[in-house]
Symmetry: C2
Subunit: 245 residues, 2 copies
Amino acid sequence: MARFFISASNMFGGIAYLTSAERDHIKVLRLRQGETFTVCDGSGNDYTCRLDKTEEGDLCGRIIKTEPSVGEPTVNVAVFAALAKGDKNETVIQKCVELGAREINIFPSARCVSRINGQAAAAKKTERWQKISLEAAKQSGRGIIPQVRYIEDFNIAVAMAANAELPLFLYENEDKLSIHDAIMDKKDAKSISVFTGPEGGFDESEVKLAVEKGMLSVTLGPRILRCETAPMCAVTAAMLLTGNL
Amino acid sequence: MARFFISASNMFGGIAYLTSAERDHIKVLRLRQGETFTVCDGSGNDYTCRLDKTEEGDLCGRIIKTEPSVGEPTVNVAVFAALAKGDKNETVIQKCVELGAREINIFPSARCVSRINGQAAAAKKTERWQKISLEAAKQSGRGIIPQVRYIEDFNIAVAMAANAELPLFLYENEDKLSIHDAIMDKKDAKSISVFTGPEGGFDESEVKLAVEKGMLSVTLGPRILRCETAPMCAVTAAMLLTGNL
């Protein structure tokens, strides 16, 4: 069913009022009056609506059912992925939103090949990333639009990630603790962070810092995953082992 | 460490003989005489070699250690992914090889938007796909080069997939059996197949056929995954729950 995110303030009196962009989108989808679509308030509530017209003759949705969004997992998974070349961060954002991540944070790391110079460039990138998150949230049936942030400082990214109940640092040279065992040891964690490196991997000083700040260094197995594959794999593991897949 | 796949017949007398393409690649990597690299025979054996020259003055590898490839999982996971638009099948192949799949099969399905017309086109596609598999196998440290096939007939794809000890049919309308529970119920399976649909999902007749042939219809959770995300997610689940991640 077609899905739109609409601010709760645009729903009242049993009607979901649509912006002109949304009305245009509904025309593109060739939805006809009487047909149903889903509106989500971005706070985890879904509204099934029947397409109708307002007194002014504009397309709107008549709310016929309200329920919690089924697409929201019971665990908050925050992704922290190092800045990468080309469109890899975009792939990570799209896939991790589909898989159920709560937020995605991109940060610079010592061996990053790619750089973002200045606040204006960061703002532009973030705007584009946020759009990708929105599209993925609509397509996959999420109840929220996961926030995407660019964190300029590696140390701040570590401090934020370390805040999770189960903070996982995905390190290719780790050979003792598997992500499976780390999650199974703390299956009831309400928040999990997954922290992944750039193309060239983490610098040793970065690993040291993360472990000092309380993160658990874990492995994704004996195969070397590309930098954009590791976050998807880690989010899948977190969802699967906490009963959300 | 740099990694090459070399036919076992090119290794004898403690020396790995390199083709001119491989010698060129070694020059590009700026490997110097005395430095080490890994050669894999594609049958699960790794050879650590020291760069040297043959009597004829060509670059070769002097084998200093032989061991089973660490990159091979204990379970054979066969991916069956429906033909998809653009470069989605390529993404699936690259990611599933990294994640440890044994083989990848692409097949046409009723609601496929994309088509491959004729044997020549299929052969050309398969050749390209196989190259992607090789590159991903080298990069991720696999001990084999997973085979990629194009199966022209949906029924044959189902018959092949149904042969696995645990044949999983990923169906978005399934709401009872999760992939987690299906795998946990048969954790010792030596072979698992994961069968995923095209952009428009499977046709009901296809689901019926697959179940008749003995496949288990399973869900990947309440979020709708894109057609290229589902195989990666399913392979991750299979590896994670069989102790291979």
